[in-house]
Amino acid sequence: MTVQDGPERGGGDVTAPAPPAAARDLGGGTTSAPDEYRPSARRVARERYRRTRTRRAFAVATASTLATAAVLYALIVNSPGWDRTRQTFFDAHYARISLHPILHGLWLNLRLLAVCGAVVLVAGLLMALLRTLRGPVFFPVRALATAYVDFFRGLPLIICILLCVFGIPALRLTGVTNNPVLLGAFALCLTYTAYVAEVFRAGIESVHPSQRAAARSLGLSNAQAMRYVVLPQAVRRVVPPLLNDLVSLQKDTGLVSIGGAVDAVYAAQIIASRDFNYTPYVIAGLIFVAITIPMTRFTDWVAARMNRRQSQGGAV
């Protein structure tokens, strides 16, 4: 859609205070009186033309969208298997009976997301800082952090969870829980900390070295430069990829169900495999999407606010 340049004015006798000369429309218009602004005929024509183009573009877009939707709808509804698909995937009865168990399971997903998300953000940032420590004395720390990240980024999450949920209790250590949910959460934290550490490190390394140099020349210590100059910029830059990981974590929380706990997707699966109907999966999927969308909007808003503050030179 086109953007109108300036406020729309009626093409007639609008009396308005004269704009300052700098803002005066330079469309070759003649002003009849010094205190009265009349858009020139050329400008009126141009704006009318633009309006018609906008309307036409909108109409074309609407028509093509409707046509595409109609074709897809006709294609799906007239497919030979549509009746069975509808009964198997979109059955109101199963939607009703599955909603409560799914929401009950979702509560587990959300608790896991809150706890693991917080742990992962802190631990990931810590891991990234360990990897970016300077000086030869810290080599073993850097090496260990690098080894950790490499290993857990490469290890498939499902295997990590299996090993934690069924392997740790097999050791029969005293004082170590054998609660599958806690062990599964631990496995999630292990894997996602590695992902998030890399995201933070990318952010830290994307801050120009001159920033650090300037901070150091102002007398800030290495730690202070990191804390007050580098990290604020680094974190702001990696908000979108962090959200990616958080959304991904939200969906992966379901994997702790390997240990027998029932999350939203698993609750759907229990009903689906009991009655051979897939509707609960559709419901669970829609609920997850519905949760993710507000989360995305929220982070967009946070990122925008951060950027506004930065460009205004406000407090970081």
């Binding site: 595409t68 074709v71 294609l75 007239n78 497919s79 030979p80 298997g81 009746d83 069975r84 698909t85 009964q87 198997t88 995937f89 069924f166 209790p169 097999a170 054998n178 609660n179 599958p180 169900s257 390997i258 240990g259 027998g260 706990a261 029932v262 698993y266 699966q269 229990i270 689906a272 495999s273 009991r274 009655d275 051979f276 109907n277 897939y278």
Partner: protein, 301 residues
Amino acid sequence: MRPAILPSRHRAALAAAALLTLALAACSPQDDGDSSAASSPSGSASGTTAGACSPGGLATRTAGKFTVGTDNPAYDPWFVDDKPSNGKGYESAVAYAVAKQLGYTGDQVVWQKVPFNSAFSPGAKNFDVDINQVSITPERRKTVDFSPGYYDVRQAVVAPKGSKIAGARSLADLKNAKLGAQVGTTSLDVIDDLVKPTKQPAVFQRNDLAVAALKNGQVDGIVVDLPTAFYVTGAQVPDAKVIGQFSTTGTTPEQFGMVLDKGSKLTPCVSQAVTALRKDGTLAALEKKWLSDAVNAPVLK
């Protein structure tokens, strides 16, 4: 004067339209001829007489072959060594017996790995019958066809000898236990409907995960069908025992049935075959051969 070349916008629109048409043509419905009978009532021999089941000449997926599906891994005692094609284990033996009854020789039987979830998906099936300890229920009949039951199922509780429910004598003794079962099994329904424990039962994707949790003490006991229960205590967890079995709920005993596509042309013939095998005692003999360990366990009332 018409321009010789269309303005680029029009060309783009045309190209888009052409692309859309192509895409639609590519995914336009291909009726593979198996959905015509989607509404025939299952189990009813819809006009099929015994003569229509010509030996070895059924309308199977691959002509002259009888494709049998089961999940991977295939568990004892239903299969042996995770090899359905060796004819060992109760379900493998039943599948070969049914194939023979239908006029297929052993080497005409093709085994296909079919995950439990895809056994009841509405799309075209890649098997003629699926034999995978699937219990017959009225709800499931809406989605798939079943052969008549080839095995009467009883559910049982397995617990480590040191578990707090090791001495359970009644359903009430299981009330406060953390029980586990496999997803999609009637074992889970037994826990929910019969035991109604105070703790949410643990649900496992596969039986071996349930057994692992049992070994680790993450659940007090697991509910499985009786032959599996005796296999678990006999081979997998020697220090566990079968606490007891549940009395059959409701009026009809629970049965395992072979799964066929909804409205499959084979359903009447396969049903006849299973019924015949039950009548002539073949099923009982196979059960005695492969599941003889599943002797009785005390019934929990």
